[in-house]
């Protein structure tokens, strides 16, 4: 029975899912290209309108999340860094502190955690806002006024979220590394601040800064594009907005993890 053909209903189901996946990937790809095209071809046009929108989105995906990121930095410092520093000191392996911190926290946990935070706090709200605007005909109103909805609604969110994820990651990493040492210090770990900083600095190289900048900007861009796509790309009824939000959240999560895996490969190759 295991080697027999799948029942037609299974084939239908998988075929249907596969087609939906292909269509989604195609739609997201096209939307991303259109957004980038609009962003680079019209940047500077109607700057008076774009600037406050970008500032508002950057504040929303950055500044307004600072309290939450501060809490996460303290938590990350306690849970991961403080424990790791304490453990490495106990087994006399403090020389590995730098590489462990840089690999686990700076390259992986920090950016991914911030991306998840921005996705849950801003990304979900974006689908709801844009989906509702679409369902209520506000997007049609923009088109009637000759205003490009991509330029007015999507571009500020892409720039805002890319900047937001990048700056929050920098803030989270600094906060987490500092609070991590603080927790270790409170546990009487015999590690001087100078040694701790030297270890970290020794494990970081120039490429880390470039790749962290790229990775966090890509996370922000992916979250913005996917959430805007689900809010805008298809005609929505109000009752469909919640489903679109769930789909967008899941797809952002998958894409961020895949993007993270891609950057791990880049780290390994370079």
């Amino acid at each position: 029975m295991l080697h027999g053909p799948l029942p037609q209903s299974f084939l239908d189901y998988f075929g249907h899912r596969l087609l939906r996946l292909i269509l989604t990937v195609q739609g997201l790809g096209a939307f991303m290209l259109i957004t980038l095209g609009v962003m680079f071809s019209r940047l500077g046009r109607a700057g008076g309108i774009l600037r406050p929108l970008v500032l508002a989105q950057t504040a929303r995906a950055g500044l307004q999340l600072l309290p939450m990121v501060t809490f996460l930095a303290a938590a990350l410092g306690l849970v991961v860094i403080g424990q790791t520093v304490s453990l490495l000191s106990r087994v006399g392996a403090t020389q590995y502190l730098g590489p462990v911190m840089v690999t686990a926290v700076v390259r992986e946990l920090g950016p991914l955690l911030v991306a998840l935070l921005v996705l849950s706090r801003v990304g979900a709200a974006t689908v709801i806002e844009l989906g509702t605007a679409r369902a209520l005909g506000e997007v049609e109103a923009l088109e009637a006024l000759g205003i490009d909805p991509i330029y007015y609604l999507v571009v500020p969110r892409v720039i805002g979220m890319a900047l937001g994820v990048f700056s929050l990651t920098v803030y989270l990493l600094l906060g987490a590394l500092f609070s991590g040492y603080l927790w270790a210090f409170l546990q009487d770990v015999p590690l001087q601040p100078g040694d701790y900083i030297r270890q970290l600095a020794g494990a970081l190289d120039g490429l880390d800064f470039v790749l962290i900048g790229l990775k966090t900007s890509f996370f922000g861009t992916v979250i913005a594009v996917v959430t805007c796509y689900h809010g805008l790309a298809q005609p929505l009824r109000l009752e469909e907005v919640s489903t679109a939000t769930t789909q967008a959240f899941t797809q952002c999560l998958i894409l961020c993890v895949l993007l993270d895996a891609l950057f791990i490969l880049i780290y390994l190759v370079v």
Binding site: I49, E138, E140, E143, I147
Partner: protein
């Protein structure tokens, strides 16, 4: 029945044997076989009961909704239903006032909503834009509410703000989707008078007569001379004259729109 024009200028809006879909479900056709020409200077009133497809017809006329069959032209050019930069010139010649409060943007004040198309397309400098916005707010009686968000004012002011926003770029044709729905007779009167002024030439538009299409579900306030009437009934579009509407043999659906009171032709001043 097809509306014909004696004007020599090219038509502003042309729908030829067009089947118009619903904006909410593009696979459902709401109005079939529309053949309709709007010429420069026309003032059309399109009557139809709720759900008859008036909004869909206006969206199609404005080039925002593509007919599933037939052709649609704006100033002689076929339009794409979505935003496309190459159609911007034609799109900016058309103003569209949506119904149900005008679809203003709630994150902007009424003043910012009115200024939005001017700030985006930047036909004027900053100080001229401010002057133009002030003139639009004044003409529509919105100065008192200018700094409030759309959600903070009642629908009649929102509708006026949508009108001011649509007039900001000095369009050549204005389409209005049931702007007087739920208004009391006094406020309805303001709309009829203001649109009448626009049709003959208003200082806001440099005294240039505006081509107008108004979709309504009540024909009673429309007693202006030289109006052209279109009616939507059972998925069909029919154009006619006011005198034909007065005919007792008019279809029952048309008489529903007129309720107890039939429109009367008023002699031109």
């Amino acid at each position: 029945m097809q509306a014909t024009s004696t004007e020599t200028t090219p038509p502003v809006i042309e729908l030829m044997d067009a089947d118009i879909p619903s904006r909410r479900d593009l696979e459902t056709v709401t109005v079939t076989g529309v053949t309709w020409t709007v010429s420069q200077g026309d003032f059309w009133v399109i009557g139809g009961l709720q759900g008859s497809g008036k909004s869909d017809l206006l969206s199609a006329a404005a080039g925002l909704l593509r007919p599933v069959r037939g052709t649609q032209r704006l100033f002689g050019r076929e339009m794409m239903p979505t935003y496309a930069h190459e159609y911007l010139a034609e799109r900016l010649r058309v103003g569209l006032v949506f119904g149900e409060g005008g679809r203003l943007f709630n994150h902007l004040t009424l003043r910012e909503n009115v200024a939005l198309p001017l700030n985006y397309h930047q036909p004027l400098g900053a100080s001229e834009t401010a002057v133009r916005v002030e003139a639009l707010l004044q003409a529509t009686g919105l100065e008192e509410w200018a700094e409030q968000a759309p959600s903070e004012v009642n629908p009649s002011w929102r509708q006026r703000a949508a009108l001011a926003r649509a007039l900001a770029l000095k369009p050549e044709v204005l389409l209005l989707d049931n702007p007087m729905a739920l208004l009391d007779p006094r406020k309805s009167r303001w709309w009829v008078d203001f649109l009448d002024q626009l049709s003959v030439g208003h200082p806001l538009l440099d005294q240039r007569p505006l081509t107008l299409v108004v979709a309504v579900d009540d024909l009673r306030p429309w007693r202006l001379p030289n109006l052209r009437f279109g009616l939507l009934e059972e998925g069909r579009f029919l154009s006619t004259s006011a005198s034909f509407l007065l005919d007792a043999s008019s279809p029952a659906g048309w008489r529903d729109l007129l309720a107890a009171e039939l429109p009367e032709q008023k002699p031109a001043d």
